[in-house]
Subunit: 207 residues, 2 copies
């Protein structure tokens, strides 16, 4: 059976991914399940570049894992971030590293809200962007992108999700992404949209 | 009953809009139905600015139409376009005017395909962007944005939709937007997404 390895250590993300890819005729594995460990430096300048760097690094590791037949695997990786228009699209590709990789999101979120003090709704526009890269068995790379448009709220709201979710207000739902259910999020999130696009690519090229 | 006037003369667009807004407790009117005629110069530098210019021009006309009570109406307008990454986001806000306002899309589409000759899939990434602006009864303006990510195909495909739809390939569906049904398009299109976001705004602020 064909295998899809997703280059993430995040179990929440893996749940989301398995849910969306579940009807594909392939086994979806986390890096850990595929026996791959890798430290990757994301030094690209776009979401697509960073996702590609990660996917290629994991594909190189997978090649060394003798148990896996190359012809049968695709490696996926994602890179995502928050672009705030008023802040010249900061934190962008530096979203995870913003104020330091280990800084709690409660602090990052508060900082962004503070930087937007006095800024009206109309100028608080922002988007979550997700790029997904796939390395196919022949070494070629495909990328897809998904976006959700919204704006930065005035305070943190909601307990679901993670990262910047509590300050990202989605007009369509009248709530932040941290207030959406898993089902709602899998319908509209940047990652879900990028992944559905990738699913289409894999169906036509791999499966 | 509250009224929503949508500043468009395009009947196809009106059908799409009525379908998405149909469960709102408001009457949705085209400009024509509201008895408004207006020539508008779109001289903004962003989709949001252009949508706002249109909505404000129509709102000013609606003010003069004595039959309509100001307190009860919202005017909406949209502006959309195609951003092709390889062409530095051309044609962008000039999408309708690209190669001339009256040039058939068969020619515009062929021209864009020619400009991407020899460019591989990965560099053909593009997006349809739609901004919608609302002028509320108190004169304040809200904007929302919707996006669909995809790439430029190698030839025109499909008979549905209009404009650049036949060359815009959507990986999730494995087809161009001109090959999507009305229902599919109302699910994923840039305009549908912007409009659903606006629907959320109107629910919380107007209805």
């Amino acid at each position: 059976m064909k295998k899809i390895i997703f280059a993430t250590g995040n179990e929440g993300k893996m749940r989301e991914i398995r849910e969306i890819l579940r009807d594909l005729d392939a086994q979806v594995l986390s890096m850990k399940e595929a026996g791959i460990e890798t430290g990757i430096e994301e030094n690209g300048t776009t979401f697509e570049e960073n996702a590609t760097i990660k996917a290629q690094a994991v594909a190189a590791q997978a090649k060394k894992a003798a148990a896996i037949s190359q012809a049968e695997i695709v490696v996926l990786a994602d890179d995502s971030g928050l672009e705030i228009d008023y802040l010249n699209k900061e934190p962008g590709i530096y979203s995870a590293r913003y104020l330091g990789e280990d800084t709690p999101y409660a602090i990052k979120n508060k900082n962004l809200i503070d930087r937007l003090e006095g800024v009206p709704d109309n100028k608080r526009t922002a988007r979550f962007v997700c790029a997904i890269a796939a390395v196919l068995p022949d070494g070629s790379v495909i990328t897809t992108r998904g976006v959700i448009e919204g704006r930065i709220d005035y305070e943190e709201k909601g307990k679901n999700g993670f990262g910047y979710d509590p300050i990202f207000y989605v007009p369509e739902y009248g709530r932040t992404t941290a207030e959406l259910s898993m089902e709602e999020k899998n319908h509209v999130s940047h990652r879900a949209r990028a992944l559905k696009a990738m699913k289409g690519e894999l169906k036509s090229r791999f499966l």
